[in-house]
Protein backbone atom coordinates (compact mmCIF):
# COMPACT_ATOMS: atom_id res chain seq x y z
CA UNK A 1 0.00 0.00 0.00
CA UNK A 2 2.76 2.37 1.04
CA UNK A 3 4.71 1.49 -2.05
CA UNK A 4 1.75 2.32 -4.24
CA UNK A 5 1.37 5.71 -2.60
CA UNK A 6 5.05 6.54 -3.03
CA UNK A 7 4.93 5.40 -6.62
CA UNK A 8 1.85 7.55 -7.23
CA UNK A 9 3.51 10.55 -5.58
CA UNK A 10 6.64 10.09 -7.66
CA UNK A 11 4.60 9.69 -10.81
CA UNK A 12 2.92 13.03 -10.07
CA UNK A 13 6.25 14.86 -9.82
CA UNK A 14 6.87 15.21 -13.55
CA UNK A 15 3.30 16.48 -13.98
CA UNK A 16 3.76 19.15 -11.32
CA UNK A 17 7.08 20.30 -12.72
CA UNK A 18 5.56 20.35 -16.19
CA UNK A 19 3.01 22.89 -14.97
CA UNK A 20 5.77 25.04 -13.50
CA UNK A 21 7.79 24.85 -16.68
CA UNK A 22 4.98 26.28 -18.77
CA UNK A 23 6.89 29.19 -20.34
CA UNK A 24 3.83 31.45 -20.46
CA UNK A 25 3.16 30.96 -16.74
CA UNK A 26 6.80 31.59 -15.91
CA UNK A 27 6.84 34.75 -18.01
CA UNK A 28 3.72 36.02 -16.23
CA UNK A 29 5.30 35.28 -12.84
CA UNK A 30 8.52 37.05 -13.82
CA UNK A 31 6.61 40.10 -15.11
CA UNK A 32 4.57 40.35 -11.97
CA UNK A 33 7.73 40.03 -9.86
CA UNK A 34 9.24 42.85 -11.90
CA UNK A 35 6.20 45.07 -11.35
CA UNK A 36 6.20 44.18 -7.67
CA UNK A 37 9.79 45.37 -7.33
CA UNK A 38 8.86 48.52 -9.23
CA UNK A 39 5.84 48.99 -6.93
CA UNK A 40 7.88 48.65 -3.72
CA UNK A 41 10.30 51.36 -4.83
CA UNK A 42 7.56 53.57 -6.29
CA UNK A 43 5.71 53.17 -2.99
CA UNK A 44 8.70 54.56 -1.12
CA UNK A 45 8.96 57.59 -3.41
CA UNK A 46 5.21 58.26 -3.59
CA UNK A 47 4.94 57.91 0.20
CA UNK A 48 7.70 60.47 0.70
CA UNK A 49 6.20 62.80 -1.92
CA UNK A 50 2.88 62.75 -0.08
CA UNK A 51 4.51 63.06 3.33
CA UNK A 52 3.24 59.65 4.54
CA UNK A 53 6.86 58.55 4.89
CA UNK A 54 9.49 60.89 6.40
CA UNK A 55 11.93 62.19 3.80
CA UNK A 56 15.21 60.32 3.87
CA UNK A 57 17.61 61.36 1.13
CA UNK A 58 19.59 58.13 1.07
CA UNK A 59 16.47 55.92 1.05
CA UNK A 60 14.84 58.05 -1.68
CA UNK A 61 17.95 57.93 -3.82
CA UNK A 62 18.25 54.18 -3.33
CA UNK A 63 14.61 53.60 -4.34
CA UNK A 64 15.07 55.83 -7.38
CA UNK A 65 18.29 54.04 -8.33
CA UNK A 66 16.45 50.72 -8.09
CA UNK A 67 13.79 52.03 -10.47
CA UNK A 68 16.47 53.27 -12.85
CA UNK A 69 18.10 49.84 -12.80
CA UNK A 70 14.79 47.99 -13.22
CA UNK A 71 13.80 50.04 -16.24
CA UNK A 72 17.08 49.08 -17.92
CA UNK A 73 16.05 45.43 -17.78
CA UNK A 74 14.71 44.09 -21.06
CA UNK A 75 11.26 43.60 -19.60
CA UNK A 76 9.26 43.59 -22.89
CA UNK A 77 11.09 40.33 -23.74
CA UNK A 78 9.02 38.70 -20.98
CA UNK A 79 5.88 39.32 -23.01
CA UNK A 80 6.34 36.08 -24.92
CA UNK A 81 3.81 34.69 -27.38
CA UNK A 82 0.86 33.00 -25.68
CA UNK A 83 1.09 34.96 -22.41
CA UNK A 84 -1.65 37.53 -22.94
CA UNK A 85 -4.85 37.73 -20.91
CA UNK A 86 -6.55 35.93 -23.81
CA UNK A 87 -4.21 32.93 -23.50
CA UNK A 88 -3.26 32.68 -19.83
CA UNK A 89 -5.00 32.94 -16.48
CA UNK A 90 -3.91 35.52 -13.94
CA UNK A 91 -2.50 38.21 -16.20
CA UNK A 92 -3.86 41.63 -17.17
CA UNK A 93 -1.62 41.88 -20.24
CA UNK A 94 -3.90 42.86 -23.13
CA UNK A 95 -3.42 41.13 -26.48
CA UNK A 96 -2.86 44.65 -27.90
CA UNK A 97 0.70 44.41 -26.51
CA UNK A 98 1.44 41.87 -29.22
CA UNK A 99 -0.42 43.64 -32.01
CA UNK A 100 1.17 47.04 -31.20
CA UNK A 101 4.47 45.71 -29.95
CA UNK A 102 6.46 48.70 -31.24
CA UNK A 103 4.29 51.14 -29.31
CA UNK A 104 4.45 48.92 -26.24
CA UNK A 105 8.26 48.91 -26.43
CA UNK A 106 8.21 52.68 -26.86
CA UNK A 107 6.04 53.08 -23.76
CA UNK A 108 8.46 50.96 -21.74
CA UNK A 109 11.34 53.03 -23.11
CA UNK A 110 9.33 56.08 -21.96
CA UNK A 111 9.41 54.71 -18.42
CA UNK A 112 13.19 54.35 -18.77
CA UNK A 113 13.47 57.99 -19.87
CA UNK A 114 11.29 59.13 -16.97
CA UNK A 115 13.50 57.17 -14.58
CA UNK A 116 16.83 58.33 -15.95
CA UNK A 117 18.60 60.61 -13.50
CA UNK A 118 15.97 59.97 -10.82
CA UNK A 119 18.47 58.86 -8.16
CA UNK A 120 20.10 62.32 -8.29
CA UNK A 121 16.87 64.26 -8.87
CA UNK A 122 15.27 63.08 -5.61
CA UNK A 123 18.17 64.37 -3.50
CA UNK A 124 18.18 67.75 -1.80
CA UNK A 125 14.77 67.81 -0.13
CA UNK A 126 11.30 66.32 0.03
CA UNK A 127 10.04 68.84 -2.54
CA UNK A 128 12.23 67.29 -5.23
CA UNK A 129 10.44 63.94 -5.09
CA UNK A 130 7.02 65.08 -6.34
CA UNK A 131 8.14 65.97 -9.87
CA UNK A 132 10.02 62.66 -10.21
CA UNK A 133 6.95 60.66 -9.07
CA UNK A 134 4.83 62.75 -11.44
CA UNK A 135 7.05 61.84 -14.42
CA UNK A 136 7.22 58.16 -13.49
CA UNK A 137 3.49 57.99 -12.75
CA UNK A 138 2.65 59.51 -16.12
CA UNK A 139 4.74 56.79 -17.79
CA UNK A 140 2.98 54.08 -15.72
CA UNK A 141 -0.42 55.50 -16.69
CA UNK A 142 0.39 55.83 -20.40
CA UNK A 143 1.07 52.10 -20.60
CA UNK A 144 -1.71 50.96 -18.24
CA UNK A 145 -4.30 52.96 -20.22
CA UNK A 146 -3.48 51.09 -23.42
CA UNK A 147 -2.16 47.71 -22.40
CA UNK A 148 -3.51 46.70 -19.01
CA UNK A 149 -6.84 44.92 -18.70
CA UNK A 150 -9.27 47.01 -16.63
CA UNK A 151 -10.06 44.58 -13.81
Amino acid sequence: MRLILIAAALAAVPLASFAQDDPAKQAVKARQGFYQMLAINMGTLAGMAKGDIAYDEAAASRAAANIEALTQYDMPALFIEGSSSADTEGTAAKPDIWTNSEDFQAKFAGLGEAASGASEAVKGGQGNIGPVVGKLGAACKACHDSYREKS
Binding site: G134, K141, K150, S151
Partner: protein, 195 residues
Protein backbone atom coordinates in the same frame (compact mmCIF):
# COMPACT_ATOMS: atom_id res chain seq x y z
CA UNK B 1 -54.53 60.77 -21.47
CA UNK B 2 -56.62 62.40 -18.82
CA UNK B 3 -54.85 65.74 -19.13
CA UNK B 4 -57.47 67.88 -20.76
CA UNK B 5 -57.29 71.06 -18.70
CA UNK B 6 -56.27 74.50 -20.02
CA UNK B 7 -52.66 75.20 -20.96
CA UNK B 8 -50.92 77.94 -19.00
CA UNK B 9 -47.36 79.10 -18.44
CA UNK B 10 -46.02 78.60 -14.93
CA UNK B 11 -42.72 78.94 -13.07
CA UNK B 12 -41.86 75.26 -13.08
CA UNK B 13 -38.16 74.83 -12.31
CA UNK B 14 -36.80 76.77 -9.35
CA UNK B 15 -33.50 78.68 -9.71
CA UNK B 16 -31.46 76.25 -7.58
CA UNK B 17 -32.64 73.27 -9.60
CA UNK B 18 -31.73 75.04 -12.84
CA UNK B 19 -28.35 76.00 -11.43
CA UNK B 20 -27.87 72.38 -10.37
CA UNK B 21 -28.73 71.11 -13.84
CA UNK B 22 -26.28 73.30 -15.75
CA UNK B 23 -23.47 72.97 -13.21
CA UNK B 24 -23.90 69.20 -13.27
CA UNK B 25 -23.85 69.18 -17.08
CA UNK B 26 -20.71 71.34 -17.11
CA UNK B 27 -18.76 69.40 -14.49
CA UNK B 28 -19.76 65.95 -15.78
CA UNK B 29 -18.67 66.87 -19.31
CA UNK B 30 -15.48 68.48 -17.99
CA UNK B 31 -14.68 65.43 -15.85
CA UNK B 32 -15.41 63.08 -18.74
CA UNK B 33 -13.22 64.98 -21.22
CA UNK B 34 -10.40 65.40 -18.69
CA UNK B 35 -10.59 61.67 -17.96
CA UNK B 36 -10.35 60.74 -21.64
CA UNK B 37 -8.08 63.45 -23.01
CA UNK B 38 -6.71 65.38 -20.04
CA UNK B 39 -3.18 65.52 -18.61
CA UNK B 40 -1.66 62.42 -17.02
CA UNK B 41 -1.88 64.00 -13.59
CA UNK B 42 -5.64 64.15 -13.14
CA UNK B 43 -5.93 66.81 -10.43
CA UNK B 44 -8.61 68.77 -12.34
CA UNK B 45 -10.58 65.59 -13.04
CA UNK B 46 -10.55 64.88 -9.30
CA UNK B 47 -11.86 68.36 -8.50
CA UNK B 48 -14.62 68.02 -11.08
CA UNK B 49 -15.57 64.75 -9.36
CA UNK B 50 -15.74 66.44 -5.95
CA UNK B 51 -17.99 69.15 -7.36
CA UNK B 52 -20.25 66.50 -8.93
CA UNK B 53 -20.40 64.72 -5.55
CA UNK B 54 -21.49 67.96 -3.89
CA UNK B 55 -24.10 68.59 -6.58
CA UNK B 56 -25.50 65.06 -6.19
CA UNK B 57 -25.84 65.56 -2.43
CA UNK B 58 -27.66 68.83 -3.06
CA UNK B 59 -30.02 67.09 -5.51
CA UNK B 60 -30.74 64.29 -3.05
CA UNK B 61 -31.66 66.81 -0.34
CA UNK B 62 -33.61 68.96 -2.82
CA UNK B 63 -35.56 65.87 -3.84
CA UNK B 64 -37.07 65.84 -0.36
CA UNK B 65 -37.25 69.48 0.71
CA UNK B 66 -37.33 71.37 -2.62
CA UNK B 67 -40.42 72.74 -4.41
CA UNK B 68 -42.90 70.05 -5.62
CA UNK B 69 -41.55 69.67 -9.21
CA UNK B 70 -38.10 68.89 -7.75
CA UNK B 71 -39.36 66.26 -5.29
CA UNK B 72 -38.85 62.57 -5.97
CA UNK B 73 -42.24 61.79 -4.44
CA UNK B 74 -43.80 64.17 -6.96
CA UNK B 75 -42.31 62.73 -10.14
CA UNK B 76 -41.21 59.13 -9.52
CA UNK B 77 -44.02 56.90 -10.79
CA UNK B 78 -44.70 53.20 -11.17
CA UNK B 79 -44.35 51.09 -14.33
CA UNK B 80 -48.06 51.56 -15.12
CA UNK B 81 -47.70 55.33 -15.36
CA UNK B 82 -44.54 54.95 -17.44
CA UNK B 83 -46.32 52.59 -19.87
CA UNK B 84 -49.32 54.95 -20.10
CA UNK B 85 -47.05 57.90 -20.82
CA UNK B 86 -45.12 55.97 -23.48
CA UNK B 87 -48.32 55.17 -25.35
CA UNK B 88 -48.90 58.85 -26.14
CA UNK B 89 -45.24 59.81 -26.25
CA UNK B 90 -44.82 59.50 -29.99
CA UNK B 91 -47.75 61.77 -30.86
CA UNK B 92 -46.31 64.79 -32.67
CA UNK B 93 -47.69 67.26 -30.13
CA UNK B 94 -46.27 68.91 -26.98
CA UNK B 95 -46.72 66.94 -23.76
CA UNK B 96 -47.30 70.09 -21.65
CA UNK B 97 -46.24 67.88 -18.77
CA UNK B 98 -45.90 69.77 -15.47
CA UNK B 99 -42.39 68.59 -14.58
CA UNK B 100 -40.52 65.36 -15.16
CA UNK B 101 -42.82 62.99 -17.04
CA UNK B 102 -42.89 59.35 -15.80
CA UNK B 103 -40.32 58.16 -18.37
CA UNK B 104 -38.11 61.22 -17.88
CA UNK B 105 -38.27 60.56 -14.14
CA UNK B 106 -36.75 57.13 -14.73
CA UNK B 107 -33.94 58.72 -16.70
CA UNK B 108 -33.37 61.24 -13.88
CA UNK B 109 -33.10 58.46 -11.30
CA UNK B 110 -30.83 56.32 -13.49
CA UNK B 111 -28.54 59.28 -14.21
CA UNK B 112 -28.28 60.29 -10.56
CA UNK B 113 -27.61 56.68 -9.51
CA UNK B 114 -24.97 56.10 -12.20
CA UNK B 115 -23.24 59.39 -11.36
CA UNK B 116 -23.25 58.52 -7.64
CA UNK B 117 -21.72 55.13 -8.48
CA UNK B 118 -19.17 56.83 -10.72
CA UNK B 119 -18.11 59.22 -7.95
CA UNK B 120 -17.82 56.28 -5.54
CA UNK B 121 -15.69 54.11 -7.82
CA UNK B 122 -13.53 57.15 -8.59
CA UNK B 123 -12.91 57.85 -4.92
CA UNK B 124 -11.69 54.27 -4.29
CA UNK B 125 -9.79 53.72 -7.58
CA UNK B 126 -6.11 52.91 -7.63
CA UNK B 127 -4.79 52.72 -11.21
CA UNK B 128 -1.29 51.79 -9.95
CA UNK B 129 0.31 54.92 -11.32
CA UNK B 130 1.08 56.59 -7.97
CA UNK B 131 -0.24 59.95 -9.15
CA UNK B 132 -3.98 59.36 -9.61
CA UNK B 133 -4.92 57.33 -6.57
CA UNK B 134 -8.44 58.00 -5.30
CA UNK B 135 -8.49 59.66 -1.85
CA UNK B 136 -10.44 56.77 -0.29
CA UNK B 137 -8.56 53.92 -2.05
CA UNK B 138 -6.65 53.04 1.12
CA UNK B 139 -9.92 52.25 2.90
CA UNK B 140 -10.78 49.30 0.62
CA UNK B 141 -8.93 46.08 -0.25
CA UNK B 142 -6.30 46.15 -2.97
CA UNK B 143 -8.47 43.88 -5.14
CA UNK B 144 -11.39 46.29 -4.79
CA UNK B 145 -9.37 49.40 -5.56
CA UNK B 146 -7.95 47.91 -8.74
CA UNK B 147 -11.38 46.58 -9.81
CA UNK B 148 -12.81 50.05 -9.16
CA UNK B 149 -10.69 51.34 -12.05
CA UNK B 150 -12.53 48.96 -14.39
CA UNK B 151 -15.92 49.94 -12.97
CA UNK B 152 -15.01 53.61 -13.31
CA UNK B 153 -14.16 53.04 -16.99
CA UNK B 154 -17.39 51.15 -17.59
CA UNK B 155 -19.23 53.98 -15.80
CA UNK B 156 -17.72 56.52 -18.21
CA UNK B 157 -19.17 54.59 -21.16
CA UNK B 158 -22.59 54.32 -19.52
CA UNK B 159 -22.58 58.06 -18.75
CA UNK B 160 -21.73 58.84 -22.36
CA UNK B 161 -24.71 56.75 -23.51
CA UNK B 162 -27.04 58.36 -20.94
CA UNK B 163 -25.98 61.90 -21.89
CA UNK B 164 -26.43 61.18 -25.60
CA UNK B 165 -29.84 59.64 -24.88
CA UNK B 166 -30.75 62.74 -22.84
CA UNK B 167 -29.78 65.10 -25.67
CA UNK B 168 -31.56 62.88 -28.21
CA UNK B 169 -34.74 63.02 -26.10
CA UNK B 170 -34.55 66.83 -25.91
CA UNK B 171 -34.13 66.98 -29.71
CA UNK B 172 -37.02 64.52 -30.16
CA UNK B 173 -39.28 66.79 -28.08
CA UNK B 174 -38.05 69.90 -29.88
CA UNK B 175 -38.41 68.70 -33.47
CA UNK B 176 -40.98 65.88 -33.38
CA UNK B 177 -43.24 67.01 -30.54
CA UNK B 178 -42.57 70.74 -31.04
CA UNK B 179 -41.95 71.24 -27.33
CA UNK B 180 -38.99 73.29 -26.12
CA UNK B 181 -37.54 71.73 -22.96
CA UNK B 182 -34.32 73.78 -22.95
CA UNK B 183 -35.80 77.25 -22.32
CA UNK B 184 -37.71 76.10 -19.21
CA UNK B 185 -34.42 74.79 -17.83
CA UNK B 186 -32.91 78.26 -18.45
CA UNK B 187 -35.69 80.67 -17.42
CA UNK B 188 -37.81 78.25 -15.37
CA UNK B 189 -41.01 78.96 -17.30
CA UNK B 190 -42.94 76.20 -19.07
CA UNK B 191 -46.37 75.89 -20.68
CA UNK B 192 -48.14 73.07 -18.86
CA UNK B 193 -51.57 71.48 -18.83
CA UNK B 194 -53.14 71.00 -15.43
CA UNK B 195 -54.99 67.78 -14.73
Amino acid sequence: MSRRGPIREVRLWDPLLRGFHWLLAFFVIAAWCLGQFGPAKMTLHFWCGYVVAGLLIFRLVWGFVGPPPARFAHFVRGPGAVARYMRSMFLPEPSHWPGHNPLGALSVIVMLAVLAAQVTTGLISDPDDYINVGPLASYVSSATRSKAVGWHNLGASIILILVLLHVAAVLFYRFWKREDLVSPMINGRKAIREE
